[in-house]
Amino acid sequence: MQSKVSRRDFLQLAGAVGGSNAVYRAAMGLGLVPTVAVVKPNVAPLRKPRKVLVLGAGISGLTAAYELNKKGYEVQILEASFRAGGRNMTVRNGDRIDETGYPQVCNFDKDPDLYFNCGPARIPGHHVNLLGYCKELGVELEPFINDNRNAWVQDDAMFDGKPIRAREYMSDSRGFVAELLSKSMKPDQFAAPMTKDDYERLREYVKYLGTLDPNFKYVGTSNAGLATHDFTSPEVLKTPLDGRELLKSQFMAIMNFGETDDQAAMMMEPVGGMDRVPAGFLRQIGHLVQYHSQVQRIRVLDKGGVEVTYRRDGEYTTVRADYVLNCIPMHLLAGIEHNFPKEQAAGFLAVPRGKLFKIGLQMKERFWEKEGIYGGISWTTQNIQQIWYPAHGIHRQKGVVLAAYTFDPNSGEKFARLAPADRIKLAIEQGSKIHPNYGDYVETGVTVAWHQMNHMLGCAAQWDEPLFAKWFKTLQKPAGSHYLMGDQVSYHPGWQEGAIASAHHAIADIDAREHAGQAVSA
């Protein structure tokens, strides 16, 4: 008689015999340990000529064009603006910020460290496709410091708005909560399988969680930072902050930011600015991009192929292609003449456009380094929400600080309604609650209201679960040989990895059609 061995039983058995290393190797064999690897679609070389028109030279458009061009497709990219990259946008001295009502010019000093990433600014280690392209295209990367416990937390709701170090908030609130927990936990509160030994181990865990003393009291911890850093005398701990006061702050909701999947170390950034990514693509396929070409009309043809009319220098031109990969933001597509299926067109208006907003300020001195802050983010519950300190150019004279990055649409709107100078004024006013004399360091700044930027009029599409369930498949599904792309058609909107995923999805589908004999003809 054969006994059934479950996968879990098997792993326990392997562990008992061969130790944890054996468990790991066995798990690899069963495919349980996720590997982090590039999953580029394997596009086969073409058998007959095919013309592909890509609408938009953002990350998804560049990715698809780069891959299809390699396999012999005839590719052209129509880009509405004067630049490539889409929301991947870095500004330096002299660069234009093409906002509809408030066009601006970046007046930072001419210096390789003085740049501002207006869109994406960090790459997590599991964004393997983007990292793969960085490697393939020779885009040099450096560590990006995202989470910094030495940065500040400021909330008018606690300590009369006085900022405290993030490490103090986190350590002292955890100590406070852990001490209360250990006092109130009783063995009989837990269900039967919890033995006395289990309970003791749980108490130990809570002790370490809150850095409690052997008597399960929280008396402070060096995790919160020392009172002085004079290392010729005994260490003095800071007096713990009042736990009840700490819990008044909504920072509790953002406290674990640096532990989330996309935000935890190790994060990276391209040396010299995020736009080194599109620049890397352009070195290979820059000649395929035609700028200043604003799409006005798209017609999916019954007999196969797609016809696109665009406006350039006031002239209208119509081109026909076997496939169209369309990266135009959905809310703008709604204003273009088209013949997409009604149910798909309805989806263009269903997903709200993002209203994220950023400010970059050139500071005449890197004053934050005197406060012991090297890179990372200070958080506030004011409209500016965040202050980022550059991880590059450490100990140089000047630096560009991110002085506002709003996730909340109301804060984005509030800033966007102001003229650029007033936006900066407001950011300085709020930032001054974190850094005294903040405004004195400001030399010049740029403001980026994504929902008012030319050719964009929105940041990442604001998907949520019900919207995904209702619209995603409809929007992703090609209409004839027309594909919608971009991070807007991914489950990772707002990330370049999502844009690449959408491009890979579309080109894999084209490849399948080309090699299944269902090809469309122009």
Binding site: A80, S81, F82, R83, A84, G85, R92, T100, G101, Y102, P103, D275, P278, A279, L282, R283, G286, H287, V289, Q290, Y291, H292, S293, Q294, Q296, R297, R311, R312, D313, G314, H331, L332, A334, G335, I336, E337, F348, L349, R353, R417, L418, A419, Q452, N454, H455, L457
Partner: protein
């Protein structure tokens, strides 16, 4: 090809992503107001194609002067404020009017449901200025209402009522509208009159 040379040059410079070149002048008008400025309801940008040049001019001047589109204005009007200011400051207002006004208009889709029969009675108050066919009257500075974005007519009628438009003392014609919209007592009346305008 010129584009290739420009791109290669940009790549060689290393720091430039885009290319300098002829601008698609007024592309930002079409960005919001859609292909041939026939409107994009999704982002609350109305159809402008076929609007009277004198009306477009006055409204752009109003946006530039803060008579319309101030920060406290309704959700989309305030986005036009800075654009009015921009064309004014750049000295391109007249060109923008010529461009937008000259685009080929398309009859917009109907999005407002209402009782057009009742709307016809209400429209009597509108007809004296805007004309029985909604074709407008330049002498009275009353723009055409027929074949405009119907949802936009609703928004503006509500804005006049709420004082978001026409309340500025410099807005003479807006003040006239504010006085007349009192003849539309509620949302239903507004929907009805717009439903009637849709038949013109």
């Amino acid at each position: 090809m010129n584009a290739i040379r420009r791109t290669l040059l940009a790549a060689a410079l290393g720091s430039l992503l885009g290319v300098a070149g002829a601008e698609n002048k007024f592309d930002y008008c079409l960005l919001c107001h859609g292909a041939a400025a026939n409107g994009n309801a999704g982002i609350r940008a109305p159809k402008l194609a076929g609007m009277e040049p004198w009306y477009l001019t006055r409204q752009l001047e109003n946006f530039a002067a803060g008579i319309r589109g101030t920060p406290g204005d309704d959700g989309s009007g305030h986005e036009m404020g800075p654009v009015g200011l921009r064309v004014k400051q750049e000295g391109t207002l007249a060109d923008a009017v010529t461009f937008v006004g000259g685009l080929p208009p398309v009859r917009p889709v109907v999005t407002i449901a209402g009782d057009a029969k009742h709307g016809k009675q209400l429209y009597a108050a509108c007809a004296s200025c805007h004309g029985v066919k909604g074709a407008g009257n330049a002498q009275l500075q009353a723009p055409a209402l027929a074949a405009r974005s119907d949802w936009y007519l609703v928004t503006q009628l509500k804005n006049f009522q709420a004082g978001l438009r026409g309340a500025d003392e410099r807005d003479t014609y807006g003040a006239q509208m504010r006085a007349v919209v009192t003849s539309l007592p509620d949302e239903k009346a507004i929907a009805d009159v717009v439903a009637y305008i849709n038949t013109l």
